[in-house]
């Protein structure tokens, strides 16, 4: 059964918007996705019917809100096939999740002279937290290099592993290039050396079925807002054994068992990592987003997107002077490119006037840009509501752009 794209588009109110009098063509999905009306409605309903602070509340609203909150935890557990609800921590977003792990894991496991392996194609959110850790604890950051087409160099990775390696942290999909990283191989190799692996799945979860048990990863991070859910909510999955061993990240309400001034004891998982009033409305919206994706079926989403992606790559390749950055074969949902002789900012400005929203710049992945010796790219990134016709519009606009610049 195929996806009915016309019906899907009707679910997303913003897609009916006009920009400078032209229909919006939204190709900035790697930055954030648009929300279906089901998600928007779930948030409104939450605030209009159930809003309450959760846990420990004796009254009706609090019971209802708590139940909805904990049900969503279970739905997310199923969505990524984690073993136990306790392993699902609600955070503010992928960046928050990554910082929590970097900070808390380091306190238990990283000491002077230890090494952390990341790759060259990481988002800043999976680089800077580890730089903090290295600085604070005297550890060393080791970088897996890329080959010239923007893929992880697996041989080099194997050579980086040594008996000081404490963790490997890599993206599942590169936000700058769209490259799919062979995380399963990476996890297997690392586990052979008994080294835990964190996967930054922010750009993977929206586009493919992710199964953390099948992958075998020890930590997995992502953001709701990149998968049709609300802003301000994200997930940290961690294997129970690790989450038990590492200290809590923030202190406050919800995460404690007892508090005296001399000593406090921490709550059980997952609450130990959820200090403060949680974003219950965000969780309600997130549930609606997961329901939406489950309804469509992730396999179907992936199939549709991959046919659209292939169509887009072929169409763009035909444009004279257009260079795709990162020409690996296993890629998804992101096309980064440059127009010969035209600055990426000029390209973005003109596309914007055509109603086409793309992102330009370094995409929070400066090291990737450095590798290709470029200051930035134009990035078109796709979601489940994009169409072949929108790809055609992008191509037409780029051809017009070339005319305007006399190229």
């Amino acid at each position: 059964m195929n996806i009915n794209i016309e019906n899907i588009r009707k679910d997303f109110p913003i897609l009916g918007q006009q920009v400078y009098g032209k229909p919006l063509v939204y190709l900035d999905n790697a930055a954030t996705t648009q929300k279906p009306k089901q998600v928007i409605q779930a948030i409104s309903d939450y605030y209009s019917l159930f809003n309450s602070n959760i846990h420990r509340g004796v009254h009706y609203l609090s019971q209802e809100a708590t139940q909805a909150f904990e049900e969503t935890r279970e739905i997310i557990r199923q969505f990524i096939n984690a073993e136990n609800k306790k392993e699902i921590i609600f955070t503010k977003g992928a960046t928050d999740s990554l910082n929590i792990i970097a900070s808390s894991f380091a306190k238990s496991f990283i000491n002077e002279g230890d090494e952390i392996i990341i790759s060259s194609l990481e988002h800043h959110s999976n680089i800077v937290p580890w730089q903090f850790v290295c600085k604070e604890r005297g550890a060393k950051l080791r970088i897996i290099p890329l080959n010239e087409i923007g893929e992880i160099d697996m041989a080099a990775f194997q050579k980086l592993i040594n008996n000081r390696t404490r963790i490997v942290a890599v993206a599942h999909v590169s936000n700058a290039l769209g490259t799919i990283v062979p995380v399963k191989d990476i996890i297997e190799i690392a586990h052979n050396h008994a080294i835990p692996v964190l996967i930054d799945g922010a750009q993977a979860v929206p586009h493919m079925k992710v199964d953390v048990r099948d992958l075998g990863c020890d930590f997995y991070c992502f953001s709701a807002h990149k998968m049709y859910g609300p802003m301000g909510i994200g997930i940290l999955f961690g294997k129970e054994e690790f989450l038990e061993k590492i200290p809590p990240y923030q202190g406050g309400g919800e995460m404690i068992k007892t508090v005296t001034f001399e000593n406090s004891t921490y709550g059980d998982l997952p609450f130990k990592f959820e200090a403060g009033t949680p974003n219950v409305a965000g969780v309600a919206g997130f549930k609606a987003a997961i329901d939406y994706l489950n309804n469509l079926g992730m396999e179907r989403v992936a199939a549709y997107e991959s046919s659209l992606y292939k169509y887009a790559v072929d169409a763009l390749k035909n444009i004279d002077g257009l260079q795709i950055i990162g020409s690996g074969t296993n890629k998804t949902s992101v096309i980064s490119f440059l127009m010969k002789g035209i600055h990426h900012y000029d390209t973005g400005t003109i596309l914007d006037r055509f109603g086409i929203a793309v992102r330009t710049g370094h995409h929070c992945a400066q090291p990737v840009m450095d590798l290709f010796h470029i200051p930035g790219t134009i990035r078109a990134s796709f979601g489940l509501y994009n169409t072949h016709q929108e790809v055609n519009k992008l191509v037409e606009a780029l051809l017009k752009l070339k005319e305007m610049f006399g190229n």
Partner: protein
């Protein structure tokens, strides 16, 4: 009387109450008349965790049957647990493990069934069944 029979009896009793306040008055009465537990059983290992008020549950085993005793700080909670004891005390581990607990819903105290309620029936029931399981395992 079997577990199912006691549950049915309680359901019938509750049918006489017209409104929630009468039901709660009855719960309060039950709670207040729950026999006081010996202090030696009011120990940490008998505390049911996750409750806003303290609830102790103690179980003993004799002649293939389990006897439950309980106490607590909050009267309504005690009232509920007194019904549970009435249903389960004196039953065999197997019967306890296999019992369903639909009478709570049927007597109109559904709000106490919420797994998130701090003094949840759910955690009390779980604890009762855990005791049954423990005795069963020990005696097999």
């Amino acid at each position: 009387m079997t577990i199912a029979e006691t549950q049915n009896k309680i359901i019938t009793e509750f049918q006489y109450f017209d409104d929630w306040m009468d039901k709660y008055n009855y719960l309060i009465e039950l709670g207040m008349s729950l026999p006081v537990m010996d202090d030696k059983f009011k120990i940490k290992s008998n505390l049911i965790s996750g409750c806003q008020s303290r609830v102790w549950l103690h179980a003993s085993y004799k002649d293939g049957k389990i006897r439950f005793e309980a106490d607590g700080d909050a009267v309504i909670t005690k009232g509920i647990i007194s019904m549970l004891i009435r249903v389960f005390s004196g039953q065999t581990p197997d019967d306890i493990i296999n019992a369903s607990l639909d009478f709570i819903d049927q007597i109109g105290l559904k709000e106490h069934l919420s797994p998130t309620r701090s003094n949840g029936l759910v955690s009390m029931t779980k604890q009762l069944k855990l005791y049954a399981l423990a005795f069963k395992t020990k005696n097999e």
